[in-house]
């Protein structure tokens, strides 16, 4: 844009705008920075000042303490398992269903599409779903955290729309060369859909890692609790399931409760923070796909 005269009012607005946005941006991550700092704090530091961003002494005691028992480790294991297997199940179910639904000539396609859309409007609700899970003997199994959410209707429709937009000529050419339907999906369609699949892999994976509701409903056995449920037990219900002083050397002083809680929060957030840079590259595109009607 050509350089033009800017009034004093506009300059004031710009300065103000940049400043406000900067503050909002920092506010979005500030609580984490406090929590991370607090998780490294010692008792003396916590009693001296309540909030700080840079601890004067760095102590790993809180982390040593929460990893002294296998409570946290086990729940991380559960969460990892559910995330990896669950995401694989999500992708398999979503792709295999979206691919046929992308074929306009498929008999019964509209009926299926309407059935799927209807589930987005109306559902049986918590109790009937719970009873189905119970009848299938899935209660207290990790499958209860995976199967009931195998497909998100919303994601399915976006993937379907994406498949539909792929050039049909490519498929015809492959078919003439003797490619089977499955070969077509595996060798032509999936490689062309890598960006979309990456987006949904990450969305599904984050969903599994953050899932609390299903575990609350379907898992009673504490040894099968995912990390989110364990987090709540430790931070909000103050049930110090994590940490055992007797297993530590006799000179070890129990770290302050606040820093133990903060350390648990950090452990629960860390994986997300690790994948965030990868996520970030993809999701804007993924969300745009979602806003395309059709």
């Amino acid at each position: 844009m050509a350089k033009r005269y800017r009034s004093a009012g506009e300059i004031t607005f710009d300065v103000f705008n940049y400043l406000v946005l900067g503050i909002i941006g920092i506010a979005a991550i500030l609580p984490f920075l406090f929590v991370v700092a607090g998780s490294f704090a010692t008792e003396a530091e916590i009693t001296k000042r309540a909030v700080f961003l840079v601890p004067t002494t760095i102590s790993l005691d809180a982390y040593r303490f929460i990893f002294s028992t296998d409570t946290i480790v086990r729940s991380i294991g559960v969460s990892l398992y559910v995330t990896v297997i669950g995401t694989a199940v999500n992708l398999f179910f979503t792709v295999t269903m979206a691919y046929p639904m992308a074929k306009r000539y498929l008999m019964g396609r509209n009926l299926i599409l309407n059935l799927v859309i209807f589930t987005m409007l109306f559902g049986g609700g918590m109790i009937p779903t719970y009873l189905v899970i119970r009848e299938l003997h899935l209660l207290d199994t990790l499958n209860a955290l995976i199967l009931p959410g195998a497909i998100s209707a919303f994601n399915l429709i976006i993937v379907k729309n994406f498949f539909q937009e792929l050039p049909a000529e490519m498929e015809e050419a492959a078919r003439i060369d003797g490619c089977t339907e499955l070969g077509l999906l595996w060798r032509i369609v999936l490689p062309l859909s890598k960006p979309v699949l990456a987006t949904f892999t990450l969305f599904y994976a984050v969903g599994h890692w953050n899932n609390f509701f299903s575990a609350l409903l379907y898992i009673n056995d504490p040894s099968k609790w995912p990390l989110q449920v364990m987090l709540r037990q430790i931070v909000m219900l103050s049930q110090s399931a994590a940490g055992d002083l007797s297993s530590m050397d006799p000179n070890f002083v129990q770290p302050p409760e606040q820093s133990i809680k903060m350390a648990v929060i950090v452990v629960g957030t860390l994986p997300i923070m690790c994948v965030y840079p990868f996520l970030q590259k993809h999701f804007a595109k993924g969300v745009m796909l979602g806003s395309v009607k059709g």
Partner: protein, 317 residues
Amino acid sequence: MEAAEVSVGTSFRRRRREQRFRRLKRDKWLYILLSPGLLYFLLFKYVPMWGVLLAFKDYQPFLGFWSSSWVGLEHFRTFFQNPDFFMLLRNTLVLSLYNLVFFFPAPIILALLLNEVRLSFYKRTVQTLIYVPHFISMVIVASISYVFLTTQGGAVNEFLYTVTGRKIDFLANPDWFRPMIIMQTIWKECGWGTIIFLAALAGVDVEQYEAAVVDGASRWRQTWHITLPAIRSTIVILLILRMGTILDNGFEQIYLMMNALNREVAEVFDTYVYALGITQGAFSYSTAVGLFKSVIGVVLVLGTNWLAKKSGESGLY
């Protein structure tokens, strides 16, 4: 004559049937691929839908679904006569109203501010930062709130104590429940909510701004006459979607922040269904409560969609 006509009809029908069969056979792999997904929808979506019939039965676990006796609308009657009904309705509607007034405009304003940023590096950095909280679980959000707001060494209260000499028990005081929930929602989802508006804003024709500048329009005028009208339909669509979820206040968040002391303002339909159904085993009664909520939800979506179409917007369906 008649016999001939019949035979033409049947042969026509037979041909169509054969044609259908051929298509089924040709697309057999597509149907095989479709089957796991279909099974999923039937088992986990449609069977529970049919399970809402429990709301009209007196479900006895040892009798099972089939043998439990029908009671008609009795559960609904009991629910509407229960004083809890008004508490739930009030809490749900007030929370939704707060959300609509305080949370809904927030991403729009934030997107408009971001849209005015010309330095693309600065814009991208701010965006990256404000999207982060969306990916954090509600448990972490609630946990952070607990750690900061507790009266036992929580940072916010320690600060309040040094400044005013008093502490506020945010977590147990009913007056603080709603502001706390709204603050959490704004912090977590406001940045993420900007994406869709920024996309709409990116689609605005630059020439319109140039023409407006030539006509001597100020930045504020440009926003008012070009930018806002451009994102109007996006705002309407999101408003429709929000209407449908007006009785849904987000189970996890409320469940996590609720306790015995703030229950009177915190309990909403979903937490009530959970408490009565899952923890106390009143399956039929809580199914009825859940069904009431879903039906009102569907009516609200269809209703607002109809209204949006009437007023000349494109609507959702």
